[in-house]
Symmetry: C2
Amino acid sequence: MSTPAPFQATLNPSLKSWIDSANDPASDFPIQNLPFGVFSNDANPARRAGVAIGEWIVDLAALEQAGLLKTPNVFGKPRLNDFIALGRDAWREVRIALSGLLAHDNPTLRDDAALRQRALVPQSNATLHLPVEIPGYTDFYSSKEHATNVGCMFRDPKNALLPNWSEMPIGYNGRASSVIVSGTPVRRPNGQIKLPNDERPVFSACRKLDIELEMGFIVGAGNALGDPIACNDAEQHIFGMVLLNDWSARDIQQWEYVPLGPFNSKGFATTISPWIVTLDALEPFRTATPPQEPQPLAYLRHDGDHAFDIELEVTLRPEGASKATRISRTNFKLMYWSMAQQLAHHTVAGCNTRVGDLMGSGTISGPTPDSCGSLLESTWNGQRPLALDEGGERGFIEDGDELTLAGWCQGDGYRIGFGQCAGQILAARSAAAE
Amino acid sequence: MSTPAPFQATLNPSLKSWIDSANDPASDFPIQNLPFGVFSNDANPARRAGVAIGEWIVDLAALEQAGLLKTPNVFGKPRLNDFIALGRDAWREVRIALSGLLAHDNPTLRDDAALRQRALVPQSNATLHLPVEIPGYTDFYSSKEHATNVGCMFRDPKNALLPNWSEMPIGYNGRASSVIVSGTPVRRPNGQIKLPNDERPVFSACRKLDIELEMGFIVGAGNALGDPIACNDAEQHIFGMVLLNDWSARDIQQWEYVPLGPFNSKGFATTISPWIVTLDALEPFRTATPPQEPQPLAYLRHDGDHAFDIELEVTLRPEGASKATRISRTNFKLMYWSMAQQLAHHTVAGCNTRVGDLMGSGTISGPTPDSCGSLLESTWNGQRPLALDEGGERGFIEDGDELTLAGWCQGDGYRIGFGQCAGQILAARSAAAE
């Protein structure tokens, strides 16, 4: 694995599909993207693998059955893990086969009405599911601006960035069981909150409910226990990326997190977008990470560029509002530590990773309040509420609010989009038990 | 689930088996225990479920095939999860059926040589495997003595116990992928270490490798996202218990753990014992938890006794030594927070749990140095090395050392034992890359 294989799967930016909606420059899903997900529909409630193209889903199980893919029956499954486990050559073969079948001048699927009927499902008629079984979820903390902001508020403004932060991609184990797919409602959590003037905590619904705008990557090839992944090899272990909202209960977090880190304040829900965009699709948007000073230790050094230029935004729509307000706009390329460095660090002591593991970037914040990835930061712990476009304001999230992350790479006349990562907040369960 | 079902599965303490070795008062596995595990042997390398009895394993897949158990083909699997998912009534039915088949006066298996040949495997000929697929691993921190000791060393002796500690069972998400079964060697981890007089960290093999003597429980019935488990119901969700060694790299831990908790310092390996002892087998050893002051918030209150009187010890055997030295002796009943409180707290904000989830107690330390569950504590960070019985001393663990946890409940003329939880340390991988 020490020499990366030559890159084989970037698709021509001018390639068009016979599916018209894929050629719309504003579509998240042109033929250059081809992200993988799991879906079902009324006509066929079985969960199976699909690829998004324009406003449609290509049913990969149907193509596999029709003999148009060479994969060994991996797509008629409720999770992508069996496909992902086949490895990068298989991902690329499928990607190339699909781009062929969907290209404007290829008649195989285009001109076969019966096959099209079986193999194409409108996204508007489909339900999207969690695309992978996630054996482990790790969340990093790799935005310098975010770590500095949180350090100012939760600890000491004079020493906001701790000394270890600049030496390693700080991360912690998250809770994999509560990772949910976009669209799943999120119930406001109850928990212990310690108010500043009280001697003891109270049991209460969270009063400082927040988002964390993150991206996540899905491990495509794990490593054995005791066998670290070298930084220069790490991207070969990554299948693709999703948007990730690491919902956070700030008041519960502040009381519980010392000394072992966040627990109930994060474990109630983490939302990911349903489509996994492959690293191959992102390749044209590769760019440099910010300068790293001090130079990292050798196991964290890599050659070439390892950031990706992905535009990100967050919107908030109050219940019943006709319009959402944009509350953040930032870019993934600002992250200090790369995904490759995160994976190298995660495994350097010998920890094994597995196919389908989810690794969150940590909150992605830029240098200005309107580029912060959490309300904690953009409202400075609720002290400077954000005005909403249709009136009202928000310090933190209220019941009924729908929060939506979006992300895309802007190409010349097309974009590689991630779709949406959305969730609406339900009122807390009655805390009468306390 | 609000009213616990009447207890049905405590076996008569005077019951004897026709398997002689089970009647030895020093055996960990009398007929009153019947712990579940997964094994294979040379004659049949397929992993399958078994129950320990004296020096033997009862092959549950063989009994199931012979029609002697009513379970629906759950035992011929490499993990116990399908069996555990059947729920408590099924666990008890199997327990009662087995105690019948193994009772001294029951001829069904005793007098059927062909069936005995298929259904009984000597432990000495078997390989034991990880008994469950573990979807999530959580580690608590519920020994007051341990939390106080660590607080003294890592933070401030004057405020060693943080104010949140007495209000909730503090816990964090561990790494499930690196949970291994007793007997698996453990490679000393490499990682970042910050020496006191250096400006920057170095990359090095861990120099302060340690154990954490813990017990773990296995979740037998999970809860849905958003649907907490009440404290009085929590034990109904627990299948059983194991010994757990949460190997810890103290030097890596001290540098990395602020602010998000331990990560690489723990993620390289966690060893559990292969036999899961059911709560039913432990029932006669139920006792009171230490007094809790202040009184916990309502969601953490439960009726009755929720500790278990389990004797624990740790031994260290240097490579080549003929004899192991006992380095700790303590008891699980000292734990401040109960398993029921841990599970209620884990789920109170809505986090879901799943069949097979592993929850560690946290290091179990008593009030004296010889009852500490880690070398960090018993040697006070290496400053007061322990003398070994055959000469030499240990501040922390050296390469080649084998560390073994053992645990048992002492009954009148019998004991409910946990077997062993052991691991030998291999030298670190070359750190030459740095």
